[in-house]
């Protein structure tokens, strides 16, 4: 397993400066963040140069406020267009895929008004349609789309690996897999390690943050059990650090690989 870090957490002005810090701290890659309005595509010159300079950028995580599961049809269409573009860019960079949730911050069944404007069947139809479009595009680009289950307060549609796996089974495309996140799993899964072993075949990407969304080691997640489960199923891809930082931010980022390496 290779530990990588999201770009905004790394100190440095350019990707090259961030890369130098990352390598010195023990990271083996940078996870990019893909903003909307095709701005990720517009970064291509910068990204191509970084790649030429040896920066390893295997994945991109979407950084927008609307998603392919949006209630609004125009927002959905735009999110699909943005994700297709991000998949194409990460493919050009030699990466493996792009990660997105179904939605974020749009609706929670745990908060008022509790009942969403679209019923479950409607949600499912929208999600399957989006995953099909994005999966087909990912396959054509030779990369994968990683569907990320979020906790119940951030998304009302896909919270657990079981739900993501069910959608992926129905879509039937190998290019759609689950991008798991330890923080969300800690909230939603009865046993995160057991969920990993049960849905191992679908796990394509992993993001790490502790129980409190802080850097691994700053919360109470059982990292030995979580990472031990990934080891047990033979997961050999990337562990991308996506978290908030407590204490000195530079030292916090520097501390993470040693915490994770204890277990993998």
């Amino acid at each position: 397993m290779k530990i990588i870090c999201q770009e905004q957490l790394l100190p440095g002005e350019s990707l090259q400066e961030k890369w130098d810090f990352a390598v010195a701290a023990g990271y083996e890659g940078i996870e990019l963040r893909g903003k909307g309005d095709l701005s990720f595509r517009d970064r291509l010159p910068e990204l191509r140069q970084a790649k030429a300079d040896g920066v390893v950028m295997p994945t991109v995580c979407v950084d927008m406020l609307h998603f392919f599961g949006a209630f609004d049809a125009d927002q959905r269409a735009d999110a699909v267009a943005q994700m297709k573009s991000q998949l194409s860019v990460i493919a050009e960079l030699g990466g493996i895929g792009a990660q997105t949730p179904a939605s974020y911050g749009m609706f929670s069944r745990r908060l008022p008004p509790f009942e969403p404007p679209r019923d479950e069947a409607g949600d499912r139809e929208v999600l399957l349609d989006g995953l099909r479009q994005l999966g087909e595009h990912a396959a054509s680009e030779g990369v994968e789309l990683f569907l990320e289950p979020l906790n119940r307060y951030e998304d009302h549609m896909v919270n657990r690996l079981e739900q993501a796996a069910g959608l992926i089974q129905e879509v039937g495309l190998d290019a759609v897999r689950i991008g798991i996140d330890s923080y969300h799993m800690n909230i939603e899964e009865a046993d995160p390690s057991a969920a990993i072993t049960e849905f191992a075949a679908y796990v394509g990407h992993v993001q790490l943050s502790d129980s409190n969304r802080l850097q691994p080691g700053a919360g109470h997640l059982d990292w030995a059990a979580f990472l031990g489960a990934l080891d047990a199923v033979g997961y050999d891809r990337y562990l991308a650090v996506e978290c908030r930082l407590s204490g000195d931010p530079v030292e916090a980022v520097r501390s993470i690989p040693a915490v994770v390496r204890r277990y993998v």
Partner: protein, 441 residues
Amino acid sequence: MSELRRAAERVLLGNWTGRSTVPSHSLYPHHWSWDSAFIAIGLRHLSPRRAQVELESLFGAQWQDGRIPHISFSPSVPRDAYFPGPDFWQATTRGGVESSGIVQPPVHALAVWLTHQADEAESIRRGFLARMYPKLVAWHTYLRERRDLGGRGLVAVVHPWESGMDNSPAWDEALARVEPAPLHSFTRRDTDHASDDDRPTDLDYGRYVQLAATYRDHGYDDARTPFTFALEDPCFNALLIASEHALASIAEALSLDPSRHVTAAAELTSALTTLFHDGIFRPRDLRAGQPRAEDEQTTAGEQAAGRLVEVDTVAGLVPLIVPELPQAKELLATARGPKFRLGEVRMVPSYDLTGPAFEPGRYWRGPSWFNTAWLLHRGLVQRGEHQAEELADALRADVLELAGSTGFAEYVEPFTGEARGARDFSWTAALALDLLRPSRP
């Protein structure tokens, strides 16, 4: 080897229930005492925190008198999933945990100490040793004060299941004195998921039920129960000695005086010597000589003294784990001799290969088990001699090969290594995981 490690980890992750590990989802769906200790010894490599929780959960079922029941029942499993279940035992702790009333060998202090060592920072952060120490002391105190039925300073088991080696031929003679409970009075569940040929016979099962019912009907009171079955088992006592040594280490780590545990270990080791005969340790049957209906009356002297059972089982080799064991050299010679053929057959047979009761596929009457192999491996490594180390290396390789080839079987046929009993058995996976790590005494 990394594939074996991953497979073992998958077994332990799969058998984890949130607070503890079931030995096997199909055959043993609750929390077993000595299984839990062996499981923690391997689980500590996967998740030190889970290993600590495993042992803490088990001690959550500790009785007021200090005993650790051999089963702590899971409330989420149907009441009739296992026999004898909670309705048979009728034992509930003050904390509301339903359990059995008998015990199993005290491997726990050793497991606690090894679990602590796996991640001392996490152990200290969680206050693991400080929390476990008084409970372990209470457990050992129960055994030494309430279960010294022979008055020699050794602990007696009062049910074959307490030895952990349920149907060992060493219990046959003593068990024959027990009137079996009628077959129609209970329904076995252990044969639902395993071949009848691998499991104890119905007649034996009726005797197990009778012994447990008598203990239950006397309120599990050791002073009041008329035990018809009472034996000083060398394996049980050797594990208590190993655990007293571990308690001494735990006490030192807590800046407490370890001397009471050092003394206890020495006293027990000295008393254990009285079980040594003919190159091996044998159980002492404290009720031998008491009349069966069809037998003639024996002398009162024989009754008081008890008698060593002339049946050789792997339980008699387990004292090899006792540090500075005076009889170690002779014991090792017996292990390598025709009865157990250490290094020539698969792991260590549970019973004398030349014995009249030998059955290669039936539970503790011949098959080789992974926990006893682990214990002997530990004993051999502790000896620190060249020959013992060679044997230890070969035994370790055999355990690892068999764990993988059998799908983590509960036990194996000692000549062919064929899998028997449950698969994905937790302690098999755990102890393989432990032996995959570099050995240390």
